[in-house]
């Protein structure tokens, strides 16, 4: 009987062990890397909305507080998007002829909601709650970036589990006084750097380190 495998297969089989490992490693790395690119995480990507609403004009330029529009952010899980009536408190009197605002007027007259597309969207199996973060002194800006500089809304963080945990493991690095949560330009002062301030806030707000899976997967 002749041999089934030629002698050279010895080398080949050895090489395949190394190569196989390399290919597997490369695949895993590629997937992990891809997950962090804007293509998957949608960081810095804006979406086509029914009205090109500018936070830069309304927040940065006019100085309107987040809560004028995102009314429930202090009290519930959702920050909630404003109703058309909220836009109309101003736009019934100003910029009443702007073509850009036609969908807003139509929506108000016909009692149909404006269909905003979600920019931030966690998978449905993850639970998030705004009110607790606001109460414990996490600024909007820490998670959403310089909203007052955005002509169009976009993500500034991946919203990966890795990102949530990076803060839940050491919240003291990110906390600020409650009064400053809505301030887009807050920075820790020179007299009291973040390390010292964070430790004090963890103490006075009794901030826990919530890393139990059931905190977010319930």
């Amino acid at each position: 009987m002749t041999q089934l495998f030629h002698k050279s297969f010895n080398t080949l089989s050895k090489a395949s062990i190394v190569l196989g490992g390399l290919v597997a490693g490369l695949t895993v790395t590629t997937v992990l890397f891809a997950n962090r690119t804007p293509y998957i995480s949608l960081v810095d990507v804006s979406r086509e909305q029914p009205v090109p609403f500018s936070h830069k004009h309304h927040v940065g330029g006019l100085g309107i507080d987040c809560r004028y529009c995102h009314t429930s952010v202090e009290t519930s899980a959702q920050a909630s998007l404003p109703s058309t009536k909220t836009c109309m408190t101003c736009h019934s009197s100003i910029w009443t002829n702007a073509a850009m605002l036609e969908p807003v007027r139509q929506s108000y007259m016909n009692d149909r909601s404006l269909e905003w597309l979600k920019v931030h969207d966690l998978p449905d199996f993850a639970y998030f709650n705004h009110s607790i973060h606001i109460k414990k002194g996490v600024g909007c800006q820490t998670c959403h970036g310089q909203v007052d500089q955005m002509p169009l809304m976009m993500r500034k963080n991946t919203l990966n589990m890795e990102w949530c945990l990076s803060c839940h493991r050491e919240p003291e690095k990110f906390l600020r006084p409650r009064e400053e949560v809505f301030n887009m330009n807050w920075k820790p002062s020179h007299e009291k750097p973040q390390a010292q301030l964070g430790a004090e806030l963890v103490e006075s707000y009794q901030v826990q380190k919530l890393t139990n899976c059931a905190t977010c997967h319930r």
Partner: protein
């Protein structure tokens, strides 16, 4: 041999099937999501007429309407303390200051951009208006100003009213009104 291919093929199907996003986008409504089931396209349903949520029975006419015997109430429905004023200050800043400005003079940013200018809160008529009047304007609107009843809780509307009273006092204060222990600091030259 056939069996092996069958198993391989099936597991390939299994692998591909696991790419589905069922758990990411579960067939359930989240607040403010759209709906193809209801005619108005909203998953948020309006409250049926006559429904009273637990703990929200509004049987205190003064608190809810700001009126007593058909007239604007001259008193607040609950005692006003420092915490109420502080709450009023923050809500005023969020909801009123864009137009009425921080002092109540009516020169807010939106007015500067073309909104009709409201009268100053410091004219005699408004200084003499009872608290119930301000509550009523926030609840039902006034002229081109829309109402804020859907965005400001009832208690907060009263807190804002109390804070407007503070502004009115402060804008018309005389030196004699300053408490004795604060006079000293006022007299010091600015640093």
């Amino acid at each position: 041999m056939r069996a092996i291919f069958l198993i391989l093929g099936l597991s390939l199907v299994g692998v591909l099937a696991s790419c589905r996003q069922d758990m990411h986008d579960q067939p359930k409504y989240k607040p403010q999501s759209g709906s193809s089931f209801f005619a108005d396209g909203r998953s948020n349903r309006p409250v049926l007429a006559g429904t009273v949520a637990r703990g929200r029975l509004q049987d205190d006419a003064l608190l809810v309407t700001g009126k007593e015997n058909g007239e604007f109430s001259k008193v607040f429905p609950f005692p006003v303390d420092a915490a109420v004023l502080e709450r009023g200050r923050s809500r005023y800043g969020i909801f009123c200051a864009p137009c009425h400005d921080a002092s109540g003079a009516g020169n807010g940013m939106i007015v500067q951009r073309g909104m009709k200018q409201p009268l100053s809160f410091h004219i005699d008529r408004l200084r003499d208006s009872p608290p119930g009047y301000f509550f009523d304007v926030m609840t039902n609107g006034f002229g081109v100003m829309y109402d804020y009843s859907d965005r400001i809780e009832i208690e907060d509307r009263w807190a804002i009213t109390a804070y407007i009273r503070v502004l009115q006092k402060a804008q018309n204060a005389k030196f004699a009104d300053v408490p004795a222990d604060k006079k000293e600091t006022l007299l010091q030259p600015p640093k």
